[in-house]
Amino acid sequence: MSNYPNYRESSSRKLKAIYTIWYREIIIYFRNTLKLFTSIFLPLLILIFLGTGLKTILPTNILHYDFSKFFFPGILGLSVATMALSSTMSIVWDREFGFLREILVAPISRTDIAIGKILGATTVALFQGFLLLLVFPYIEINFNITVFLATLGTIFLLAYGMSAIGIYFASRLKRTESFSFFLQLVLLPMVFLSGAFFPLNTAPSWMATLASFNPLAYGIDALRWTSLYYSLPRAQLNNITLHSLPACLIILVVFNVIITFLSVKVFQKIK
């Protein structure tokens, strides 16, 4: 008795549902020009002022390399992760303004909604990473198409993982105020244990142990490998990263698969 008798739970129908949810996230991101602007402006601010400032107390003759080269992939990873996490906050907004109900009563599966949301946040974070990559040539990093694509791929892996974490927590939150607590409780420890500000292999071993449970640390390590591959010698790259590139990538992929399952499961229980 349905109005469109050719209806069935086909894969194209699933893709359409995911696309719809994704499409909305993208519209909202690009419509919010202030958010768009700050998302680019803030990391550049950190890079230029904090990076330049720190460079003066860590001159090249101690470090044997330019500090901004070390610093840039870290800031890239941080801003991508923050963007991915904060984009998933749209779930909490939607709940507060009622739009979540419109999505939940639609004849599409909860899994598709969750995946659409994750991909939406991933895309937004990826776009931000892309914009930051355009700064590359200005900090004397040897830049070519391989580096660019490899870094972009790594950004995708990291952004996806962080978005899925975001969905996992945001689906449990009832109010928008709780989200700032969540950001402080989840994001800040991850940031400090990520190796973005200082190399983790010179840090005490308990910190390195804790960092091995931190997906952001693997993401930033992977970003260092891919973006600085032609700029620093291998030995020095080994010195500033905790894990090798293949190890980082494998762990990121495995983590993404697990967290996708978890966040979909949590999202299915949403009311």
Binding site: E9, I28, R31
Partner: protein
Amino acid sequence: MNDQSSNILEVIQVENLRKEYGFLIAVDGVSFSVKKGELFGFLGPNGAGKTTTINILSTLTPPTSGVAYINGYNIVTQPDQVRRSIGLVFQETTLDNHLTAEENLFLHAMLYDVPFRVFMQRRREVLKLCELWNRRKGLVNTFSGGMKRRLEIARALIHLPQVLFLDEPTVGLDPQTRNKIWDYIFTARKKNNMTIFLTTQYINEAENCDRVAIIDHGKIVALDTPDNLKNMIGGDIITLHTTDNKKAIREFHFKFPQEKIKHIGNKIQIETARGDEFIPVLVKTITPRITSLVLHRPTLEDVFLELTGRKIREENNGKIKEEEAPFDLASFFSLFAPLPEEKEEEKKGEEIKTEKEGEGEGEGEETKENKEENEDNRKESEKEGGTAEIDEEEEEAVKIKVD
């Protein structure tokens, strides 16, 4: 064959639906069915279980027990088919404020898998119908409450639902907008021969329905056409106010033991077959002076009152509660200062007033007692003006002034 035809005839079938939240029973064994093309209303006060019923029927909340079919689909086992058959307008808005009116409709069409060409045609129809065609490119953020409501109804119609659920669609809107939205709902219904399931707490909205179920405490207490429901009361309703209601009721019972009479608030309500002819008789019979008298045809409000003993939207249970004044320092210190005599006279006047208002029932006496106590306190403090405590208080006050 019988089953099939009944499926087509009865778009909503509900049998013994129950929903419990722990100890709270939100919906308590509700059964009804709605025919195709019918405008069916759920009338009841806040918290009667109207929204819970809609949430269950729209597959948002699973029922604790009972079965329900919408458009022939089971709401528990075939939720996706049920969702495609229904359009929903919730009590609170569920629009995306960041998007334009058109984009909201487009997303809805995508979610319900409406083909693009069908959508383009429906979009025009639906936006013209609710008079938002000119504002279709406007952000929903900038819309008024009434416009948002209309857009929401328009959105619910995009996928040509068999049943439209409206959960208190006009709550919080001004009467003019309310009428407009109803015009719009009626036109939409005529065009699509749609079944509408409506919940409301407004009597006049319920009177427009083909059939009304009166719901209270999760149970359907009556289900019929508005006219039949009103006939249950049997005739006219006379509401009167006398100087001594209790005496009037006693006299009335003595003379006309067969007629129904009720004491509601400070008014008396009488149900009788021929109200216009009964009034002269009534006026002669009752000895207390009648201060006001109203005769009216029964409304659904009266039906609800008859069935549940309460009004649909009672404010403060009909009682007037006096609010306690917040503590303020000035009045506290005034306790220790002798009051001028004029003011005391004023107070006495107030006492008499409150006695009149409360008709000697409880509250008036209480306030009187309080005031007597206050007065006693004041007198005591006047007498014991020299005790240590009060000296301290005064000293503090002086200190504050000095500081």
